[in-house]
């Protein structure tokens, strides 16, 4: 899967979860997205898993630092 495609589908997921358009880049972190806090993190991860049909190990759920790492992981798991 191409990164551009992952980003496009991720933008839909973020819009669904946070109810607003979110501009995403590799360096985007939770601090840059209003509403992306510990309460919403698992909802977001679960929705991404459903969208891409992948399952993140807990190590990545708690360890991913930014959207770039998230995209890398999605590509790795869906390969």
């Amino acid at each position: 899967m191409e990164r551009a495609e992952v980003y496009s589908r991720l933008a839909d997921v973020f819009r669904d979860v946070f109810d607003r358009e979110v501009s995403l880049a590799d360096a985007t972190t939770a601090a840059d997205v209003p509403g992306w806090d510990s309460l919403n993190h698992i909802t977001l991860i679960g929705t991404i898993e459903d969208e891409f049909d992948v399952k993140f190990p807990m190590k990545d759920v708690v360890g991913m630092k930014n959207v770039g790492e998230l995209v890398d992981k999605i590509i790795e798991l869906s390969a």
Partner: protein
């Protein structure tokens, strides 16, 4: 051994000198011996619990890492031993009493004995720290430490064993064992932090405690809303000064040894919501529950199935599983504090406000979008802080008495007419020590306000730029004030969170 006692000062001075005098490779061994001595000081009997926790988590972590144990059973084994020990020594009496009550309610006579076992000090803290490490090994976030004694130091490191901060293995362990050279600036920063912790304890927490402690054994003598507002606000400040003062001493001592501990406080009474409060108060406990209870619950089969079942109704699918997981987490956070329904009520009291905020998020988001000027104004921020402080302070009416009947009596007194000798007594006490009580509180919060508004700049760095003579004048004046005006010694050795 308690931080604010002469024996600790002697003990720490000896450890500090020996630590930096030793070559790097011997230092962690010294820290381990010092940590065991520190912990055994109150009672050598406590070492048994520390030993069982250390042994069980060592075997489980190494077993999982070497694949001799499956990750599932390694985690289960560590949890059964450590949480089992906590249940037996902290919750057994509570558990038996509730089983007896429950059986009675369904008409079955049960008389499980009222076993009151001695709770080893710090058990709730080091059990959580070492269990968190095992879960991190299980999740393959860290590798298990193969050297038993190094593992033992991670579990028992003396600055944090009695009251936390609950350490994260990935951040703490490398610092304990790496080669370090003495850093004068870090040592000075550490001493300053220790002094600030002593200030909070002897000039704020103890002074307030001395004035309001009589209230808790005679709550019926203090009627009136104003009276109870004053008492609960003073207790809120006392608890903060006590617990964060202890953390300052712990973090400062550790910094002097070249080891940075995780921060447990970040200006909590400047929080703008209850959720924000818990990101600033006892941070490491909140982080522990988030990583090891809240996330696994939400990712567990039950709540994942529920979220998928609600998929057609997106907002419900987002909110309902989160609310259910929050309920469990706040029930457990309450219970962590103590074996009494009052602590559960305290946890659920905070949880209710957090759940309410999650449920009302669509409404508040719309309000924030429509009124950006108001929402971003300083006045609105002050309103949010005052509202959060009022909620947190009300919570102490449940937390401090640790008995729901007394909480009920406090609420009754709050809304009854002012007529009682106790009110005049507390007015008289506060009036005659107004400067002593309020000047130091104001000073403590002024420092917090600086940290809140300038989180990246520190007062210590600012102080460092002062001329040497001026700096030493501040140190000597501070020491003089604490020695002559502070309250310490017999009756003031304990810290509020020791009982947890």
């Amino acid at each position: 051994m308690v931080f604010t006692t002469p024996e600790f000062i002697v003990f720490f001075a000896a450890v500090f000198v020996a630590y930096w005098a030793l070559p790097s490779r011997g230092r962690w061994g010294l820290l381990l011996a010092a940590s065991w001595l520190f912990y055994a000081w109150a009672s050598p009997y406590y070492l048994i619990f520390l030993g069982v926790t250390t042994g069980a988590t060592y075997l489980a972590a190494v077993g999982m890492d070497t694949k001799r144990l499956s990750r599932k059973w390694g985690g289960v084994g560590a949890a059964v031993v450590t949480i089992g020990m906590l249940v037996v020594f902290k919750y057994l009496e509570f558990l038996f009493a509730n089983v007896n009550w429950l059986m009675g309610a369904v008409g079955v006579h049960a008389s499980l004995p009222a076993v009151k076992l001695l709770l080893p000090i710090g058990l709730s803290f080091y059990v959580f720290q070492s269990l968190g490490y095992c879960i991190d090994v299980q999740r393959e976030i860290v590798s298990a430490e193969r050297n038993f004694f190094k593992h033992a130091l991670f579990v028992s490191y003396f600055p944090q064993i009695l009251q936390g901060p609950i350490g994260d293995y990935g951040r703490l362990a490398p610092q304990l064992f790496e080669a370090k050279t003495f850093n004068y600036e870090q040592a000075v920063f550490g001493i300053q932090r220790v002094a600030w912790g002593f200030f909070k304890k002897v000039m704020v927490a103890n002074i307030i405690a001395d004035r309001i402690n009589p209230v808790w054994s005679a709550v019926g003598d203090y009627p009136g809303l104003i009276c109870w507002s004053a008492i609960l606000v003073l207790y809120a400040i006392q608890l903060y000064a006590d617990f964060s003062g202890y953390m300052d001493i712990a973090c400062g001592c550790s910094q002097m040894l070249g080891v940075r501990l995780d921060e447990n406080f970040q200006c909590p009474y400047f929080a703008k919501s209850v959720a924000d409060f818990w990101r600033r108060w006892h941070i490491t406990l909140g982080a522990w529950f988030k990583n090891y209870v809240f996330y696994p619950l939400l990712r567990g089969g039950l709540l994942t199935k529920l979220r998928k079942r609600l998929k057609g109704r997106r907002k419900l699918a987002n909110v309902v599983p989160t609310v259910l997981a929050l309920f469990v987490v706040w029930f457990l956070i309450g219970l962590w504090h103590g074996a009494d329904w009052s602590y559960v009520a305290y946890g659920l009291f905070h949880g209710a406000f957090i759940i309410l905020a999650v449920a009302l998020a669509p409404v508040t988001d719309r309000f924030h979008a429509r009124c950006p000027a108001l929402v971003n104004s300083r006045g609105y921020a002050v309103f949010q802080m005052a509202r959060t402080f009022a909620i947190v302070t009300m919570g102490y009416a449940i937390f401090k008495p640790a008995d729901l009947a007394t909480t009920g009596e406090i609420l009754r007194q709050m809304f009854s007419a002012v007529d009682g000798g106790g009110v005049y007594q507390i007015q008289y006490t506060l009036h005659h020590s107004f400067i002593k009580v309020f000047a130091w509180i104001a000073f403590m919060f002024a420092v917090d306000a600086v940290h809140y508004t300038k989180p990246n700049g520190t007062i210590r760095a600012w102080l460092r730029r002062w001329p040497v003579a001026a700096r030493w004048a501040v140190y000597v004046a501070g020491l003089w004030l604490m020695v002559f005006y502070g309250e310490y010694g017999s009756g003031f050795e304990q810290f509020e969170y020791f009982k947890f």
